[in-house]
């Protein structure tokens, strides 16, 4: 009995430092954030300490603000746009590279570099490639006769959003490919062989064997993809600064602007809380799935 207590103590000794660190560095700010969002802290009241409790006032102001509503819509467009393209292309990549050929492994590895790059450099690259006059994208499209005149990618709202989604997919595709590949390699070849004996064609094998068996990987990659994309920050911040006219601003960059360029700390916190709530709802499903797998 004594031994068991000792072992528990040892266990806590290993776990607690990290847990306390997480509580202090994240739990405390989270609560602090909620408190902030319910008060009116800005640059004036922070210095004088004259801030007061305002209840849900900040949230009401935000939802009444057309700019915030636009930003919220942008976040959804950006997230679902990215999810659609990066998942579809990532899945095609995963299927292609799961075939057996000499270069499958090395090239699949190579593609992953895009995923590990600093997002700020990816953004910088996007800014250069989508430049109106010296950008390579316009030049390529003109050479292919797909456009007659240079497109002002980052100067117009819709095209700027398209460009940002494009760059984010460049990072997202390898991520999707990687997770889906690990799902695909888990399927035993026996199943395919017995299906062939039963006379299934390629398409039927994909629909009735591949899809159901990689379903857990698909669900995981979509949920994780949602979480990472919905909270995007670096890409928009460096590539477009949220412009033109908030057209590429997302909740992450907008919350930052409210707090650190307008010094409206309380409003910034409220925007960040709204962002977190959206992530948390999807996150709960993800956590439930992991918990099931773990048992």
């Amino acid at each position: 009995m004594k031994n068991a207590t000792r072992r528990k103590l040892e266990g806590y000794m290993f776990i607690l430092p990290a847990f306390i660190y997480i509580l202090v560095i994240l739990g405390y700010p989270l609560i602090y954030n909620i408190v902030l969002s319910l008060r009116n802290v800005n640059v004036k009241t922070f210095a004088s300490g004259a801030d007061v409790f305002v209840g849900l006032e900040n949230f009401k102001t935000l939802f009444a603000d057309p700019t915030f509503r636009k930003v919220f819509k942008n976040t959804l467009v950006f997230t679902f746009g990215c999810l659609f393209f990066q998942f579809t292309i990532g899945f095609i990549f995963a299927l292609f590279f799961s075939q057996k050929f000499t270069l499958a492994g090395p090239i699949r590895g190579l593609v992953l570099v895009a995923y590990m790059m600093p997002m700020s450099v990816t953004a910088l690259l996007g800014k250069n490639m989508f430049d109106v006059s010296s950008g390579v994208i316009n030049d390529l499209l003109m050479k292919l006769h797909l456009i007659q005149q240079p497109v002002e990618w980052l100067l117009k709202g819709n095209t700027a959003m398209g460009a940002v989604i494009f760059m984010n997919c460049w990072v997202g595709i390898p991520f999707n490919m990687l997770l889906l590949t690990s799902g695909l390699t888990g399927i035993s070849t026996d199943i395919y062989e017995s299906a062939e004996v039963d006379g299934a064609n390629k398409w039927e094998k994909f629909i009735y064997i591949t899809l159901p068996l990689v379903r857990p990987a698909i669900v995981a990659v979509l949920m994780l993809g949602f979480i990472y994309t919905f909270k995007a920050f670096d890409l928009q911040f460096v590539m477009t600064s949220g412009g033109p006219l908030n057209a590429t601003d997302v909740l992450g960059t907008y919350a930052y602007q409210l707090s650190f360029t307008q010094y409206e700390f309380s409003k910034g916190s409220a925007a960040a809380i709204i962002l977190f709530c959206c992530l948390f709802i999807v996150g709960l499903f993800y956590l439930r799935m992991i918990a099931k797998e773990d048992d």
Partner: protein, 284 residues
């Protein structure tokens, strides 16, 4: 996975060649942006901003790279990047590896709750943490230091390490640490001398990823270190963009230098990075 692929019939060999060619074409198209950053960085000023886009440097020059390395502000930022990345890596490793060991080897009450809190942490957006952390760090006089950003970045790496390494520790046979105990090692000694070397693969994985988390960080370093002298390369991108104006070759050389460590680590440790990304499926 390691099985050698052999192609017997000419038909299979032809299929292999075709698939390889398609894969190569895909790789070239997909990695074009990476080529582009290098290509731009070796162009002369006029070529990099010319109306005519060139697909390889017609007048190859290393001047943009030299310009960057001659710049005192650049060297300072490079140093800051390295320090912040290394410091956050150390904090993350100490806290993360011990916690992963505890979670993997001990059955303690509340371990489900611990795991949950680590997983929820991955969901927190940087924007949520910035404001409160900024206000707290300003009270603790941690703004404009390496510690502020390093502590904040580690909040992403620690949960990643726990999630990734826990299964590794779980799979080490108990006989190994029992033997260590019999030989007179205490808990900490057997952890450091026996357990950590036993999961070397996993350790390398999380070392690399937690270093890159620090190296790639923008939001935390930018917010907590307002003075450009204390900012890493990522956070000074705007500053150098203003400095270089339309000299895209210099800006791209700047970016290329930021990407270089990633590529070097990737070339040598690809196996570890890939396994880490699959196992944890998290990236902060």
């Amino acid at each position: 996975m390691k099985e050698k692929i052999r192609f017997q019939s000419p038909k299979e060999r032809r299929k292999n060649i075709i698939l390889c060619l398609i894969a190569l074409a895909l790789a070239i198209a997909f990695l074009f942006p990476l080529y582009w950053i290098l290509c731009m960085s070796f162009k002369t000023d006029s070529e990099s901003f010319g109306k005519i886009v060139t697909y390889y440097p017609h007048n190859f020059t290393v001047q943009p790279w030299i310009d960057n390395f001659k710049d005192k502000d650049f060297i300072a930022s490079l140093k800051n990047s390295t320090c912040i990345a290394l410091l956050s890596m150390c904090i993350s490793m100490v806290l993360g590896v011990t916690a992963a060991y505890g979670m993997g080897r001990y059955k303690v009450p509340g371990s489900k709750g611990f795991m949950l809190s680590f997983l929820v942490t991955q969901m927190l957006p940087a924007s949520l943490m910035l404001t409160p952390m900024y206000l707290i760090f300003s009270k603790l006089h941690l703004l404009g230091t390496y510690i502020g950003p390093a502590l904040a970045i580690a909040s992403g790496s620690v949960p990643f390490i726990v999630v990734t390494l826990r299964p590794y520790f779980k799979n080490v046979p108990t006989a190994l640490d029992d033997a260590a105990r019999i030989d007179g090692c205490n808990v900490l000694q057997s952890f450091v001398r026996i357990m950590i070397p036993a999961i070397k693969t996993g350790i390398i994985t999380v070392l690399v990823i937690s270093f890159l988390n620090g190296w790639n960080d923008l939001a935390y370093s930018m917010t907590f270190n307002v003075k450009p002298e204390m900012r890493p390369l990522t956070a000074n991108i705007y500053r150098f963009q203003n400095k270089y104006g339309t000299r895209w070759n210099c800006i791209m050389a700047y970016g290329a230098i930021l990407v270089l460590p990633v590529i070097i680590l990737f070339v040598f440790l690809q196996k570890y990075i890939v396994s880490g990304m699959t196992a944890g499926a998290v990236k902060e």
